[in-house]
């Protein structure tokens, strides 16, 4: 075979293979990992231990141990009220746990405020987007940049000290806006964007700090079906660029489509871990979503027993609050 042919042919297929192989690589790295809650991973970027968060009498999060593998897309699923968003808030410093320790890239994060966690390279988005609606799209992006020298009062007074950085930030912002197809909207107020565009802007802004880990809280919620596919593509592209993605999502088609690993929570605990197909056919997960299976009719005795148990629980909580 002539050498030039190998070159031209080989190049394009190599590029294509490189593109698609990310998910294969990512899943490959996880192939030896046990399918059980708290399974240890070959290269964890986040490790959390004994994280507990209580709201009054309700234990919202109670995670004994969890590891998030670097460079893959991990989905966090679970029924309403499972504690997914609370767990997100705890990891990212937006809420404080009652107990527990966790680390990002080996650095302990306990007591580190949210803005510092973001600067370390662990950024998040929100279920209900938090764009600054009275700023333009481009201004929203610039706000996302960190370490701005103009933030210091005396430097702020001398334009030459920050102008170069401002320019670099703007260039980076424009690059990201282009990638998320928001460049034509750069001068529009963020408040005028559609729900889906806000999700994109929030994701783009998160990337301004060049994060290692991107955490997305329900990226698909409230996004119209036409935008969903492109949003999916953007999430996958984060992995292709070497980032780690952890996301909370209810859209099971999306979870199956893009995640390399799935962690399922229910009532604050992790109940299952594994590849999407394994987790979604796990009996514990099905029970968590639909409630436990009840084959028999609820008898008179069952009812009495339930009422008695409830009465006991009420008494117990009463004594606790008075004692």
């Amino acid at each position: 075979m002539p050498a030039d042919m190998i070159d031209s042919e080989g190049d394009t297929t190599a590029v294509a293979a490189h593109r698609t192989d990310h998910s294969v690589d990512a899943r490959g790295a996880l192939s030896g990992v046990e399918h059980r809650p708290g399974a240890s991973k070959p290269d964890p970027i986040v490790v959390a231990d004994g994280i507990v968060r209580r709201f009054g009498g309700l234990t919202a999060v109670d995670v004994a141990h969890v590891e998030i593998q670097r460079g893959v897309i991990t989905a966090l699923i679970g029924p309403n009220g499972a504690g997914k968003t609370t767990f997100f808030n705890l990891l990212t410093g937006f809420d404080k746990p009652d107990a527990g320790t966790w680390s990002f890239g080996g650095k302990g994060l306990k007591g580190v405020p949210a803005y510092k966690i973001a600067r370390l390279g662990m950024v998040r988005t929100f279920q209900l987007t938090k764009v600054l609606s009275r700023l333009t799209v481009l201004e929203n992006m610039r706000v996302g940049a960190t370490g701005q020298s103009g933030e210091s009062l005396w430097q702020a007074m001398f334009a030459p000290l920050w102008r170069g950085q401002e320019k670099r930030n703007t260039e980076r912002a424009m690059g990201l806006l282009h990638r998320f197809k928001l460049d034509t909207k750069k001068g529009d107020f963020a408040g005028s964007l559609s729900g889906g565009q806000r999700k994109l802007l929030e994701m783009a802004r998160a990337l301004m700090v060049e994060p290692e880990l991107v955490m997305l809280d329900e990226p698909m919620a409230g996004v119209n079906p036409a935008l969903k596919q492109s949003l999916l593509g953007h999430v996958k592209s984060l992995r292709e660029d070497g980032m780690t993605v952890l996301f909370v999502e209810h859209d099971m088609d999306m979870v199956r489509d893009i995640s390399d690993w799935v962690i399922a929570m229910a009532q604050g605990r992790i109940i299952s871990e594994g590849p999407p197909d394994a987790v979604m056919s796990d009996q514990r997960v099905i029970d968590a979503y639909l409630g436990a299976h009840h084959d028999t009719e609820l008898s008179e005795e069952d009812e009495e027993a339930i009422l008695a148990a409830a009465q006991e629980e009420i008494q117990a909580s009463e004594e606790e609050s008075h004692g």
Partner: protein, 256 residues
Amino acid sequence: MADDTASERAAHEKMAEGAVLRADELTAGYLPGVNILNECDLYCRPGELVGIIGPNGAGKSTLLKALFGLVKVGAGTVQLKGEDVTNERADVLVSAGIGFVPQSNNVFPSLTVEENLEMGSYQKPKSFRQQFEFVASLFPTLADRRRQRAGSLSGGERQMVAMGRALMMEPSVLLLDEPSAGLSPIMQDEVFVQTRRINRAGVSVVMVEQNARRCLQICDRGYVLDQGRNAYTASGEDLMNDPKVIELYLGSLAKA
């Protein structure tokens, strides 16, 4: 497919005859042009306990709110005992015989249990004594705590107060929006038992639930909602053993 829809419509028309509450081809949403519900049918026959289940975002709570006039119905009708009550005001619906228990913020925390129940009967204060007896027979705990502020009660007890208040007007049909949400497992079971007892006392019930299997276990008939449409309706028992229901929640990979 079109045949399916037509035959489902015909079955609905037939069964909904004489229903205490019925909705026909309801289309509703929060924003103009964005419909959450698309042509939903529902009926509840006298004395029936009807459950509405479906995955997150299927439109369950929206359907319940549309029945109670809290979400504007764009097309379709809601009928209570044969009268058209579509988009009627909440207080009118309450005096016409619909009781509604919202999912959250459903008690007045600074009022006592008794005052909360009085609020429930403000349109019919004379019958307070008698209805209070009825509610107290269902929820003895509430009678014990009548002087306690509702805000100091546990989640399960607050749910009882909210249900009790809705019962103060002797409703013909009670609408419950995810009554077990946010409660401990024991209190969740408790709410299902209480709902069933209310139903046995002669009140028709339509409940939306996240705990699908518990709901199907106690209800006479269930509706499965998917993306704002009726996926299907069947007896609670049949739905409980239907693998399609699991698929709807967890995708086609999920196995029973």
